[in-house]
């Protein structure tokens, strides 16, 4: 994990619990601030349904892996921490994969290969390495909730933008016809995420000037 996040890993709250909970939501938002885990974000955010389904899957894996990594942090020697993280994460991902396949076949058809690919989602291994390996179980759990909420909010925004503009629907309900198809295609994903990041940078710059 890069040095740029090491020096500034809090969001200025005194209470370490609240700090852990809110860090991932805005200040350390995995997508628009840390810019990790972008591959599934771009690929899956074509509709709100997909975006929310993906976020819930990622949230489950993130919470599970953060808690177990933190539980096992004394058991895990430093040299093999990465293989241990990978085993823990892939176990949770496979569980999610089976559960979705069994209970939500429609969602599984939509997400397809991107569920197994959560294994290599940097958000999860990033939080394991940067936070859970060094902090208590409860704090790690709060951190996972925070990052999941941050992930969900951004993915929901991108998904909603792309679905409304690209298909003219919202949660599969038709709003208008003749949509702008490019928004559903890959370029639409880049445009949307770029605009969101740009707006955030603009806001931060203005805040600094004041």
């Amino acid at each position: 994990m890069g040095n740029n996040q090491n020096n500034n890993r809090t969001c200025g709250l005194k209470n370490p619990k609240l700090n852990a909970l809110f860090y991932g939501v805005i200040k350390g938002n995995p997508i628009v601030v840390l810019m990790i885990g972008l591959c599934p974000v771009l690929a899956i955010s074509t509709t709100v349904y997909n975006a929310v389904g993906m976020s819930i899957a990622v949230a489950f894996v993130l919470m599970g892996s953060n808690v177990i990594v933190s539980l096992l942090r004394k058991f895990t020697p430093n040299q093999i921490r990465i293989p241990v993280f990978i085993i823990i994460i892939s176990t949770f991902v496979t569980i999610v994969d089976y559960l979705i396949k069994a209970n939500l076949p429609f969602l599984y058809k939509q997400l397809g290969i991107f569920i197994p690919l959560i294994v290599v989602n940097c958000v999860i291994i990033g939080r394991a390495e940067a936070f859970a390996y060094k902090n208590s179980v409860f704090l790690s759990f709060l951190d996972a909730i925070g990052s999941s909420i941050g992930f969900l909010i951004v993915l929901f925004l991108i998904g909603a933008t792309r679905e409304i503009l690209g298909q003219g629907t919202f949660f599969n309900k038709v709003i208008f016809s003749n949509p702008c198809i490019v928004m559903v295609l890959p370029p639409g994903g880049f445009i949307t995420i770029g605009v969101i990041m740009g707006l955030l940078s603009y806001y931060n710059l203005r805040k600094k000037k004041q």
Partner: protein, 181 residues
């Protein structure tokens, strides 16, 4: 010093092994718990697709004619109501896989099972108002309107539309062949 090093290696491998075993046990348990449901889902999906392709059929039987496998559908009285062929054809993105129900030289039902056509353009082939055009059409009617047939292509997706027509035609031909034998 050397001894310490070896002990360290053993310690590390031991820990990693324990973790792997626990993980494998957990996964095999989850696999066992979800297996029946997953298989049920797949079966249900195939069945609903078959019922869509052959309206009125209640039971199905796999058969083979020549080298082509197909599914024969029967109604409640045991009379054959048609045959289902699963065929694929190269579309614009990649293979389009369709399930086509055929009876008496006419299409009775058609359904897309798998495709990677462009969202918003080519994926119109999954929509009802495109596929319903195929119902009750015979071999010589299966052409695009501009070629003198009765199928209206999807705007901006002629290749995808043509691939569907090709599949439907192939199904009718297979249907004819299986009846001759």
């Amino acid at each position: 010093m050397n001894n310490k090093f070896i002990l360290k290696i053993i310690d590390i491998s031991f820990r990693l092994t324990i973790l792997c075993v626990v993980s494998a046990m957990l996964l095999s348990w989850v696999y066992k718990e979800t297996k029946t449901k997953i298989e049920e889902n797949i079966k249900k999906e195939i069945e609903t697709a078959q019922k869509d392709a052959l309206p009125g059929a209640v039971s199905f039987q796999e058969k083979e004619s020549g080298k082509k496998k197909y599914v024969e559908g029967y109604d409640a009285n045991g009379n054959s109501v048609g045959k289902i062929f699963v065929l694929s054809e190269r579309g614009y993105g990649s293979e389009i896989k369709m399930m086509v129900g055929v009876n008496n030289g006419k299409i009775v039902g058609i359904k897309v099972i798998q495709h990677t056509e462009t969202p918003g353009l080519g994926d119109g082939i999954t929509k009802k108002n495109f596929l319903n055009q195929f119902i009750d059409k015979s071999l010589n009617q299966l052409l695009l309107k501009k070629d003198g047939g009765e199928i209206e292509a999807i705007t901006g997706a002629t290749i995808s539309s043509k691939a569907c027509i090709k599949i439907a035609k192939e199904a009718l031909e297979y249907g004819k062949q299986s009846e001759q034998q």
